[in-house]
Symmetry: D3
Subunit: 297 residues, 6 copies
C-alpha cells in the first residue's frame, strides 16, 4: 500500500511566463519511453512480481522503495509542465479567441483536452503504454534493464535541459539528474551484488558529470546524489543498506540510507483558467458549493 503527503521534493520556481513548447518537450520526461511513468511502472511491476522476496530481500527492497520515489517524480514533472504552460492563453470571452496561441503550439491537445496541464504522453503527443514495462522475473536481467533504463532516462533529461532555459524546467531537471544519478548507481551496485561485476566503472553515461548542468549543482552540494531513502517510516525496505553501501563511484562520498522521505516543499497552486472552463466554478456557484460543503448532514 502507498500513502501520500501533499508535498513535492523540491521548491519549483514560479515565473510570470511559461513556454508552451517547452512544456511539450518536458512531456517526454513524463510520458516518453524513458520518462518517469516508465521508471515508475517498471519498478512497480517488478516489485509486485518479484520471485523470492525473502531470500533476495535487499534486491526486492531496492526496487520496491525506488518505486515510491518515482511516483513523486511523476508528480514533480507533471507540476513542472503545468507551470510551464502559464500565460499561454488569455482570459476573454470565447468570441475573442482566447486560446488562439494554442493553434500553432506543438501540443494542441494540451489546449483542447487537459486545460494546459500534463497528460501521460510524450513530446510528440503519443500516449505512454504498458509496452514500456519490462519485468522478466530474472534478477540479473531485470537489474541490467533498470541500469540501462536509468542511463537512457538520464540522457533524455540532459537533452531536454539543452532545449529550454526556462528556470522551472531546469530546476526540476537539475534535481532529477541528481536523483537519477543516484538510481543509476543503485542499480549498478545491485548488479555488482548479484554478479560480482562493478559496473559503476562505466559511469557516467553519457560521460558528462551532473555538475555540467547548473541547476544540478545545488542538489549535488546538498548530498542528494549519495542518499537513498526507504520511503517508509516503520522499518520496511531497510535492507537496501546491504546494497547501498561504500562510496559513490563518481563523488567518492559515503553512501547513506535514510529512513523515510526527503524534506518536502509546498505544491504550487495552479491558477484558475476561465478560458479553459477550469475549474469552471463561477462566484455564485462557488457560494452555493461552499454552503453545501459546510452543511451538517
Amino acid at each position: 500500500m502507498f500513502h501520500r503527503v501533499n508535498q513535492l521534493p523540491i521548491e519549483l520556481p514560479l515565473l510570470e511566463y511559461g513556454d508552451a513548447n517547452a512544456a511539450s518537450a518536458v512531456q517526454e520526461l513524463l510520458g516518453g519511453k524513458f520518462g518517469e511513468m516508465s521508471t515508475l511502472n517498471n519498478y512497480m511491476f517488478q516489485s509486485f512480481n518479484f520471485r523470492g522476496k525473502k531470500k533476495l530481500k535487499p534486491f526486492y527492497d531496492l526496487v520496491a522503495s525506488i518505486t515510491s520515489e518515482e511516483i513523486g517524480h511523476v508528480e514533480l514533472v507533471a507540476n513542472t509542465i503545468n507551470l510551464l504552460n502559464k500565460n499561454s492563453s488569455f482570459s476573454a470571452p470565447p468570441n475573442m479567441t482566447p486560446l488562439q496561441n494554442g493553434k500553432n503550439m506543438r501540443n494542441t491537445q494540451s489546449f483542447i483536452a487537459s486545460a494546459q496541464t500534463s497528460l501521460p504522453f510524450d513530446s510528440m503527443g503519443k500516449p505512454w503504454t504498458g509496452e514500456n514495462v519490462f519485468s522478466s522475473g530474472n534478477l540479473v536481467l531485470d537489474l541490467l534493464h533498470n541500469f540501462f533504463l536509468e542511463c537512457g532516462a538520464r540522457t533524455h533529461k540532459m537533452r531536454v535541459f539543452e532545449m529550454t532555459d526556462h528556470p522551472t524546467a531546469r530546476e526540476m531537471i537539475g534535481y532529477l539528474l541528481v536523483r537519477g544519478g543516484a538510481h543509476v548507481v543503485a542499480y549498478a551496485k545491485a548488479i555488482e551484488m548479484a554478479t560480482g561485476l562493478d559496473v559503476t566503472r562505466m559511469l557516467p553515461i553519457p560521460s558528462l558529470d551532473n555538475r555540467m548542468f547548473d541547476q544540478a549543482n545545488k542538489y549535488e552540494d546538498r548530498g542528494y546524489g549519495n542518499v537513498l531513502f526507504t520511503w517508509n517510516y516503520v522499518g520496511d525496505y531497510e535492507d537496501i543498506n546491504k546494497i547501498w553501501k561504500g562510496t559513490h563511484p563518481i563523488t567518492n562520498e559515503p553512501l547513506i540510507v535514510q529512513q523515510g522521505a526527503p524534506k518536502g516543499y509546498k505544491i504550487p497552486e495552479l491558477d484558475e483558467l476561465p478560458e479553459e472552463f477550469a475549474p469552471g466554478i463561477g462566484p455564485e456557484e462557488f457560494q452555493m458549493i461552499a454552503k453545501r460543503l459546510m452543511a451538517n448532514i
Copy 2:
C-alpha cells in the same frame, strides 16, 4: 510525494493450484480501460492538474487521497494474478518442455515475457495506454467522468467475478467491489456538492447489490463500504470529510472518514520458478551473493 508500506489491504487466499486463463481474465481489471491502472492514473493526473486547489480543497483532497488507495489496488490485483498462475508449469530441464501448457493458454506473453506474473495489459494482451486518462480541468466534468469510470469498473469486476470461481480472484474482487462501491458514492457525493444534484439516487449501477457476490459480504460487514481513508498521517486531505458525510445511500450506514490507511496484511511470497529462470539464482550463486551483501565496504 508517496510513501510505501509493505502490505496489502487484505489477506489473499493461497491455493495449491492456480488457473492461468483466470489470471488472463483478471488482467482486464489491472490493465484494461476500466482496470485499476486507469482509476489510478486518472485520479493521479487530475490531482496533479487540479486548478484552484485551495478554493476547492475538499474536491482536491478527495481526488488526491483516492489516488493513493488506487496504487494499492493495482498492487492487489497484480498479486492476485501472480497467485493465479501457480502450477501452470512444472520444474524440469528445458528439453522436457516444462512450459508446454503455456502454448495453449490465452496469455502466452505471461509465459514468455513476465515469468507468469502481471503486466499492465488487458485480458486480450493489449497494453494499458495513457489515452485512458481523462483530465479536463473542469471540475464537474472530471467528477462526472470519475463517477462513470467507477461504475464501468464495477461492471467489469462483476463480470470477471462471474467468469472464475477461483477463491483468490474472488476474494480480491469481493474486496474491490466494496471499495469501488465506496468510490462510486464518493464521486456521487462530490457531484452533489458541486451541482446540488443527488446522483446517488441512480445507484447501484448495475443494479445488483454487492451482497449478491459472496466474497463481498465479509467486507460489507466490516464496514469497508462506508469509510474513506486519508492515506496520510499528518493531516493532509482531511477535508474529504466535507464531502464524505451523511449516510451511505444504499446501506444507510453513517459515512466515516478515517485518517491514515486500513489495516495491512502480509504480501504473499511468490515462489521461485526455475523453468522461467526467475529469479534464476542457483545455490552457489546465492552463497556468493549473500557474502557480498553481508560484506562491509
Copy 3:
C-alpha cells in the same frame, strides 16, 4: 446527411445455439483491416474529400452511394456476431459463475466489455483504426485502392466462411460475397472509365466463383450481383449509371441501377442477458420506467 431505416438487407437465420469463437472470427469482417468498418470509412472519407465533384460526378456518385450501403453491412455483420454469441453463458446468480465459458474463449472482452455483442475490433481483439483509411485525392489511385480493398475483403470473407459452418455466419457471408462481388466490379468499371483499361478481366480474385459458396447462390440467383442501388429516393447519385452499365464480366447479366435501397428485413431481437446485467432492467424497475415513458409532461 444520412437517414436510417430499421431493417437489415437480408433475413438472418435465428438458431438455438451460437458459437462464441465463430463470433470472434467474424469480428475480422467487422473491425479488421479488410472488414466492413474499413470499406465504410474509406468510401465515406473519399466521398467527403472528393475534389471535382461536379466534373467527375459519376465517380463521386459511385463512392458516395456505396458508402451508404457499407454502413448497412457494418450493421449486418454486427448483428451476425450478436446472434453467434447465443447460449455462450447461462442465467444464474453471480456466485454460480454464469460466464465461466467466457474465460477460455478467444474474445474475453466480449464477455467483460460488451455483454457478448460486437465491437469495432478484429479477430485478435485489436481495435479498428483510422490508419485503415486511404484517401489520396488522386482519382485513379483511390479507385485502384478500392479495387484492391474489395478483393482483399472478398478473400477474408471466403476464408472466414471456411472456418465456421454456423448458418447465421454463412448466410451473412453468402450475401456479402455477392454484394462485395458487385462492388469489385463497380470499382473495376470505374477504373476502366478513368483509364480505358478493362480490369474486370482479372476477376474473380481469388479465382473461385461465388457459386462455390452455398449460401451465395440464393443471392446470385436473385440478381444481387448485378445491381447497384443509389441508396437515395430523391435522385441523388443517379450518375452511377454512367459507370455501372453493360454486362457483368462473370455472369454476363446486364448491369442494373436501382434507385433507393433493396427490400429490407426485420432486425433480429436480441435477448436480455441477466448474467451480463444487459440491459439490467428488472420487472419493478421496468414498471416505473414504463410509467415515466407514458407520462405526459
Copy 4:
C-alpha cells in the same frame, strides 16, 4: 440500413483563405476521443447491440436515430476541414516546391497523404480507434456514458472555437454546439426515464451557455436546440417522443420531435488541386473519360 442525401445540415461559409493549422485543430472534433467519429460509432454500436429492443423501444429509438445524425456531423466536420485548407499551397510545377508551406504546418500528412483534406485522425495526427467505443449493454451505464461523452464533446468544441476565429470553423462549431446541446439533454432525459433522476439539473457542462458563442445564436434562435429528428420517413424511431417531451431545461422551450431530417444545404464544391495531383485528371484525359462515361454499352 442507411440512406444518403447529398446535403449538409447547414450552409458552410466559403472563404478565399483557409488556415491549415486551424484545420489541424478541427481534426480533434472529427477523429479525437471526443470527436464526431466517437459519438457516431458509440451510438451506432450501441444500437446494433441493444438487448431488449422491443421492451425498451424508446431508448433504442433514441440511440438508433441519433446515430444517423452523427454520420452527418462527421460529414460536416470533414467538409469544414477541407474548406479550412484552402490556399495552403499554390499551383506550380513540382520543381517550384508548391507544397512548401506544408513542411512547417502541424499536419504534414494532410499534405502528403490526403491532398489537404480530412482523415479520421485527431489534432495530433493520431488515428481514431475502436477503443473509443463503449457498449456495455447495461442501459443505465450506456446512457450515463453517452451523457458524459456529449459533455466532453461539448467542452472540446468550445475550446476549439476559442482557438480559431475562421468563419467556416466557427459556423460549424456554432451549429454543433446547439445540436450537441440537444443531445446532452436527450441523454439526460433518457437517464431520467430510466432512473427517475433529473440529471438535466447539472447542465450546462461546462457552465457557459451556448449563446456565449456568436455563431451558435442563429441556430438557437431557429430552435435547433429543442428538436430531435427521427432521420426516417416511414415511422421508425418515433418512440423517441416518449423521452423527448416536456421542456428544455435551459431554454424552457417545448421539446419537439420532427419526423425525418432537417432542411439540407448544398455540399461545397472542393477545388481541384493540381499540385496534389487531385483528382489528377488533365483536360485530355477528361475528354476521353467523358466519352467513355457517355458511351452506350
Copy 5:
C-alpha cells in the same frame, strides 16, 4: 541470407545547412505507411511466405530480389534524413541551451531520442508498424497489392519533393522516383504474366512523368528506369527476366536484367555532435579505446 556492402546506390550531396522540418517530412518516406520500411517488409515477408516457389519461380524471384533493393532504399532515406539535420543545433555547454532550436521543430524526438538522426517513424512521429505488411499468399492479390503500394509510394515521394527544395532530399527522391517507377512496371508486368491483363496501360499514376522532377532526369538518362538487378552474384533470382522483358511502357526502352547490384557510392560520414553526446567519446577516452582496439589479446 543477406550480405552487405558499405555503399549507397547514389552520391548524396553534402550541404553546409540542413533543414530539420524537411527531415521530418522525409521521415514519411522512411517510416510512413507508404515509406521504404513498408515496401521492404511487404516484399520480404511475401518472399518468406511464398507458396509454390518452384512452380512460380519468376514471381518468387521478382519479389525476393526487389526486397534486397528496398533495404538499400531504407538506408538511403535514413542517410538523407541524417544529412538534412545538419546545423540544427550548435556546440556549446548544456547551460547554453545548444538544442534550443529543437523545441519548436516538428520532430522533437529527433533531438531527444536519436541525436538528430532517422527512426522508423512517419512525418507525424508515429512508429512504423507490422500492420503495414500485406501477405495474403494469393499470387494475384499480392501482386495487385504491390502494384498499388508502389503507386501510393510514388505519390508520397512526389508530394514530399514538392515540400522541400533541399538538394539532398531532392537528389534522393529523384533517384527513388526512377527506381520506384521501375518497380511499378515490374509488378504491372508480373500481373500481366499472371492474368494476361496489361496494367501498364494505366501508368503513370499519378499521371506526371518522372521527368517533371528535375533530379529524376539524371537517373532516367542513365537508364535506371529500365533495369532490374538480381542483387545476387551466384545466379539466384535470374528468372526475373521471364517477367522483366520487352519494353518499358512509358520510355519504350528495352527492359534489361542485370546480375548483381548497381554501382555503389560512399556512405556520407556523419559528424560527431557533442551537444547530443553522440558518439560521446572525448579525446582522452578515445586514446584509451584506441589502445584497447589495437591490443593483441
Copy 6:
C-alpha cells in the same frame, strides 16, 4: 546496400505435422519486442545513424555487419513458422469448412490474413512497431542497449524452447541460441573496448549454458558460438576483428572473424494450400502463365 542469396543458414527439419499454436508462440521470436525484427532494426538504424564512422570504425563495423546476419534470422524464424503451420487445415471445397481448426487456434489472422504463414506480429497478435528501435547516438549507451537486448532475446528464445518440442522450432532455436550467444559476447566485448569494463563476466544471462538445450549442442560443437562473419566479400566490416578477439568467456575457444557468410542451406519449399487460395493458380491458369513467361517479347 544489401545483396541476397537464396539460402538459410541451417537445414530446417521438414515434418509431416506442424503445430499451429507452436507457430503462434514462435511469432514472439519474430515480431515481439525481443524478436528478430527488433534486433534487425535496432542494429540497422544504429548503423545508418552512426556518428563518427571513421574514427570508431570497429564499432560501426560490428553493428553494421550483425545487421546483415539479423535479416537472415528474421528469414529463418519466418520459415520456421511457415513449416509449423503444416497440416493445420485440409483441402476441400469451402462448403466443407476446411479451415475449421483455425477458429479455435491462437492466431486466427494466420488463417484469415496470411494463409498460415508468418507476419511481423508477436505471440499475442500485436504488430511489431518502430517504437522498439533504440538509437541514441551515444556509443556506450547504444552498446549497453544492445547487450541488454540480446540478453532479453536469449531469455525469450529459451522460454519458447520450453513451450514446444516440435523439432523444427527447436532446431531453429538451438541455432539462434548459439548465434545470439555470440552476439551477446560481441556487444560485451564492444563495451569492454569502449569503457575498459569486462562485462562478459556477467554471462550467461540467464545463467543456463546453451548446452542445456539439446539442439544447441550441434551448433556449439561446430564452433558457431565463436565466430563472427563480416557478411561481405570485398573487405568491408573487417575491423570487427579489433573487437572480436581473444577467447570466448564461456567456452574459452579462440574468437574467429570469418570473411563472408556461413555455409547456406536450401530454403524449404512451401506447399500450395488450395483452401487458402494460395497461391491460387489452377492447372489451366498455370498453363497460360507458363506460356506467357516463356514468350519472347
